[in-house]
């Protein structure tokens, strides 16, 4: 395949991933639970390690179900800590994500020392590398992203209503738990496909940062829907361009740097011009 085609595929996959994450992050910010992406991102590690030990394959189709499952379980563990053990949600997040990550590290070290072959290909899930991704993987991720876009398109009004006032929504017949599950599913898909490109730690920036930038510049939800997509697309393009310009540069971290700079720049701009939003 030509170099141009590779770049095109990577860019298309990253853009789709960025926009879907931005929208999911926007909905998460309505819910007031933006860190669930971070919890899931750290939580996929044991699933990846276990799937690898089980299937002895590094192909995404084998690793993905395990990653989804363990990410979901980690999030459930956090919610369990909040509901059943009376732990505050920030402490519960810290506990769930770090313990799950620890479990993942146990699995990884078992792979490394236990003669199960190299873990090197699995590292890609941790640090993310957009450049080494295969086109069919991007196609696969893109399909999932389209699924997310579909969910958003058909469900955003309901989600918008439910997260404004859960009690009221329940009183008029909506099911907030179903919305929670739907949003969790969207976050899971976003994180698990995004991690391959952005890495465990940086994934949450793709979710959080566009919504923060949008909250600085535009006030209304409808405006934010467009704005987060724009912000994320701009950052992806700028990041890809930078990493193509300097050799040996990872794309994901540059996208994150651009996203954060937009957020910080916007805040400074708002402070200087006393623009009240």
């Amino acid at each position: 395949m030509s170099e141009f085609a590779t770049i095109f595929w990577v860019l298309a996959g990253l853009t789709l991933m960025g926009m879907a994450s931005a929208w999911t992050g926007l909905l998460l910010s309505l819910k007031g639970d933006v860190l669930s992406g971070d919890v899931i991102a750290h939580g996929v590690l044991p699933g990846i390690a276990l799937s690898f030990i089980g299937f002895e394959s590094k192909e995404i189709y084998y690793l993905m179900p395990g990653a989804l499952l363990s990410g979901w379980l980690t999030l459930e563990a956090r919610d369990w800590l909040v509901r059943q053990a009376g732990i505050r949600s920030d402490t519960a997040s810290a506990m769930a994500l770090s313990v799950s990550y620890g479990l993942g590290i146990v699995g990884m070290s078992y792979i490394r020392y236990g003669g199960k072959g190299s873990q090197s290909g699995l590292d890609r899930f941790l640090f993310g590398s957009a450049a080494t991704i295969l086109p069919e993987e991007i196609l696969f991720s893109s399909l999932l992203m389209v699924l997310i876009l579909g969910i958003i398109l058909f469900k955003w009004k309901e989600i918008f209503l439910i997260y404004f006032d859960k009690d009221w929504a329940r009183a008029v017949g909506f099911n907030p738990n179903r919305a929670d599950r739907l949003l969790t599913l969207m976050t899971l898909i976003c994180v698990v496909t995004g991690i391959q490109m952005a890495g465990v730690v940086l994934m949450s920036s793709f979710l959080i940062a566009p919504a923060v930038v949008a909250s600085i510049f535009v006030r209304h939800f409808y405006q934010r829907v467009f704005f987060v997509a724009l912000v994320s697309a701009v950052a992806v393009f700028a990041g890809s361009w930078t990493s193509a310009f300097f050799s040996n540069m990872p794309t994901g971290p540059w996208v994150v740097v651009y996203l954060s700079l937009m957020a910080f720049g916007g805040m400074v701009w708002r402070r200087i011009f006393r623009h009240s939003v």
Partner: protein
């Protein structure tokens, strides 16, 4: 004749008991609301006012039977409107007044629905009735407490329901807004709607209401304002 009378009640509560763990919030409560009645629900903090309202709306598990127009409340949800406490939501939410009022028209469904002209008409008339015409494109975070309360009432009115359940609509608003909100409630009553309103200030209840439900230690007394609250305040 007797069965006719039961069906004509907008709300019937039969031996309602609500527990949280080992604590009993409401014990064997019986009450009924006639169509077109406006009743204040009073009681001290923790007397179970909110629990009663949540039980009616099926937001909390309960024992007993609650019916509206002779049917279970979940069957006639579209005719019931709820106004929650203003403090229960995040007012920094990125929405305008009109967005929130429009939410009153959404129905649960598989896909997002388009707004019909009937919906638009209901929303507009709710906004006018609540006196929010000038504010309808403002962000809800910019509103004062009384205006936010009116947004909540308008959202309930947009549902064009027949039974209104309001949780502390007068909390934290000034005297003038209180009168304005009460005018809205009275106009609803004139349209033949039934209203049950949680109120925390006894003296205001005497000023505005005729019928009252009083909750004390999980027990309910019902009757006219004079009968229930009169002696103590004279």
């Amino acid at each position: 004749m007797a069965s006719n009378e039961i069906i004509s009640n907008a709300l019937e509560i039969h031996s309602l008991t609500v527990r949280y763990g080992n604590t009993i919030a409401l014990h064997q409560v019986n009450a009924s609301l006639k169509v077109g009645e406006m009743v204040a629900l009073v009681g001290y903090n923790g007397s179970g006012k909110s629990s009663l309202m949540k039980a009616i709306l099926n937001l909390t598990p309960f024992e007993g039977r609650i019916t509206a127009w002779g049917k279970s409340v979940s069957e006639v949800l579209s005719k019931v409107a709820y106004v929650p406490q203003r403090a229960a939501v995040d007012w920094k939410y990125p929405a305008t007044v009109k967005d929130i009022v429009s939410m009153g028209r959404y129905q649960p469904g598989l896909f997002t629905q388009r707004t019909s002209s009937e919906d638009a008409k209901a929303v507009d008339s709710a906004i006018v009735q609540a006196g929010l015409q000038d504010l309808q494109h403002r962000m809800i975070g910019e509103l004062s407490g009384g205006q936010q309360q009116r947004v909540f009432i308008a959202r309930a009115m947009a549902r064009q329901a027949d039974l209104f359940l309001m949780d502390e609509p007068f909390a934290g608003v000034d005297m003038k807004t209180e009168d304005a909100i009460f005018d809205i409630l009275q106009s609803l009553q004139k349209q033949g709607k039934t209203l049950l309103i949680i109120h925390h200030q006894i003296d205001q209840v005497i000023k505005y209401f005729e019928q009252v439900w009083k909750l004390q230690e999980g027990k309910l007394e019902t009757g006219s304002v004079e009968a229930i609250l009169g002696q103590r305040n004279k």
